[in-house]
Amino acid sequence: YPDIKRGGPIHEFVQYLGADLTQKSCMTEEVALGCLLKAFQHRAARLLSDAAARIENLVRSGKSRQEAWDASTVALTWAAKAYCHTFVVRTFSQIVSDAAVDKSTKDVLTALCKLYAIDGIIENLGEFIEDGFFSPHQVSFLKNKLADLLAEIRPNAVALVDAFDYPDKTLDSCLGRYDGQVYPALYEYAKNSPFNEQEVLDSYHKFIKPAQTE
């Protein structure tokens, strides 16, 4: 973190952590992927800065560096999670944008990528609006886009899970069968229960019957 603050050479994974934290979001109604990624980078940089500032304040107030660290682990965990979240959003968007697929496929994957990012923001909204990075107006863009994306993905949902290409045997599930014959499969499965090997279980004679005759 001191290297970042000094503007020293740092690895590409963490370069964005040195960005200007006073900047506001570029988000518009279109909800561009670039603006979504910047939001994640801003959140990670800010939470890391918050954690570092907390440690420095504790050190200034007389605690040792280790004590200050130990008293800041919740803030540090928030920062680390935000960093990982950013890493995933960045990787997802990078792979989708580089993918050699036709336009209709790319559109579907881009919608998924945006949904992943927007859902990540909405589920952690406090961390994105605490410093006023998003305005209330921009948050409403995100909420509207979320609903639009759910509708957009809906017709492709089954095809998107088919694309994982798991044979039925691998899933080992009556509900997830490729042919959708869920209810006959549940019936067949139930018949495997050892309870069904006898019409009347021994336990009936041992426990239920005596209780009925007492």
Partner: protein
């Protein structure tokens, strides 16, 4: 074919085959994957057993053992050596049975390959590959997990006969949890505090034979056994191990990076973290593994949501497919997106691991800390997302999701250990934080 699912497939606006190719790195890999999966599915030997959930624990263990030994030999016969391709075959042959030899192939052999000397590799690897040696990786202790430096097991060097003496000095120091340690393995790599010339030298790996290679009975000073039933992984004999003055020759310490000379002189490694290589390797692959778990749950929940109908939308009308309810979409589609995100990130983590591992092999350790932090963070982030996501998928299947017939409880118990094995997730996140602060 259920008409609703058939209709869903007709209305898709893209070609799923292109996405499959993207996920599995090209059509050639997809073809190989399907070939291997079909070979396993068609194999009569792998068909016979009764459904998993109706088996006792011993039956689950024996079924898994029989299937995985059969599959290992079959894969060797077919000349399949790539670990991913082997996994595809095994995944289709014995779905969600945890392989009692998973640590043998996944950690024991790779650790010797990466941390053994040339002589050690020549001595142990051929025996390990032919199952003369069946090994595991005994790191975790009953009272000590992620904080490896806190391990209590000791390996004291005795220069008079050039042997290490291994001990579990307390109950908390007993090795506890390693997969396959209880009944399957006859040897293991033990992580222990090295003591030589009266000084503690930090934790190191030692090859310890725990059972006789002919009778499978315990070696002198060794006590081990199964730790009992768990939340999942019950086809695996996770075990405990107590060592009482177990003597092993000096050559049994893995000495590629650090060494103990005949007189007891300690030669330290160039980087203290080099010994964590196996763990980093496993963490890099946990990300894709998490994606696999979450994506399977999504397949089940989304297909079922297209088949299941519930409640008339307008009075007297037909019951709606539950996938048409926005609340169901809001629960499932972000998880579907997460599964894709994790697949792609896992691919990145594996490539990054391979890249840095090559640099390490060439003696360049500059990026080791970076790799360590990235893999730790992504491991935690992906396993949390996977576990929480599978639970949501279960809820999306209503009452049937609670039945083992849905396949979801087994997925949950199979994947959720990822949150605690190979490093508890909060600890992982603090390692990321330390990396960020240091860099």
């Amino acid at each position: 074919m259920n008409p609703d699912l058939a209709q869903e497939r007709r209305r898709a606006t893209f070609d799923p085959e292109q996405v499959t190719s993207l996920l599995y790195r090209g059509p050639e890999n997809v073809r190989k994957r399907r070939y291997l999966q079909n070979a396993a599915i068609q194999d009569q030997v792998l068909r016979g057993s009764k459904p998993w959930a109706f088996q006792s624990r011993v039956e689950q263990y024996e079924t898994a053992l029989q299937m995985f030994i059969y599959m290992m030999k079959k894969l060797d016969e077919m000349g399949v050596t790539d670990p991913l391709e082997r996994m595809y075959y095994q995944e289709a042959g014995a779905p969600h049975y945890y392989n009692p030899m998973a640590l043998h192939t996944g950690m024991f052999i790779p650790s010797i390959e990466k941390q053994g000397t040339k002589e050690q590799k020549e001595r142990w690897l051929p025996m390990a590959r032919s199952l003369q040696l069946i090994g595991t990786y005994a790191q975790t202790e009953m009272g000590h997990g992620t904080f490896i430096r806190g391990l209590e097991t000791t390996a004291s060097y005795d220069p008079s006969n050039q042997e290490f003496v291994l001990n579990s000095p307390t109950v908390t120091s007993m090795k506890f949890w390693p997969g396959g340690l209880g009944k399957t393995s006859n040897c293991c790599l033990v992580m222990a505090q090295l003591i030589t010339q009266g000084k503690k030298r930090g934790i190191h790996l030692f090859f310890v034979q725990i059972r006789d290679l002919k009778t499978h009975r315990h070696m002198p000073g060794v006590e081990s056994g199964d730790i009992g039933p768990k939340f999942g992984f019950n086809s695996n004999d996770n075990g405990y191990l107590k060592l009482s003055n177990v003597r092993i020759p000096r050559e049994n310490m893995l000495m590629r990076y650090s060494k103990v000379l005949e007189d007891g002189t300690y030669v330290p490694p160039t980087n203290q973290r080099i010994g964590y290589g196996t763990m980093v390797f496993v963490r890099a692959h946990i990300v894709t593994n998490s994606a696999r778990g979450l994506s399977k749950a999504c397949v089940i929940a989304i297909r079922y949501s297209a088949v299941r109908r519930q409640t008339e939308v307008s009075p007297g009308g037909p019951e709606a497919q539950i996938i048409d309810y926005q609340t169901q979409q809001y629960k499932l589609f972000p998880l579907l997106a997460t599964a894709y995100a994790m697949y792609f990130t896992g691919r990145y983590a594996e490539d990054y691991y391979e890249q840095i591992a090559s640099e390490i092999e060439a003696g360049n350790l500059e990026s080791l800390n970076q790799l360590h932090a990235v893999c730790a963070g992504l491991k935690a982030f992906s396993t949390w997302a996977c576990t929480a996501g599978i639970e949501t998928c279960r809820l999306c299947c209503g009452g049937h999701g609670y039945s083992h017939a849905s396949g979801i409880p087994k997925l949950y118990t199979y994947y959720t250990p990822g949150c605690t094995y190979e490093g508890e997730n909060n600890v992982m996140m603090l390692q990321v934080a330390r990396f960020l602060m240091k860099i």
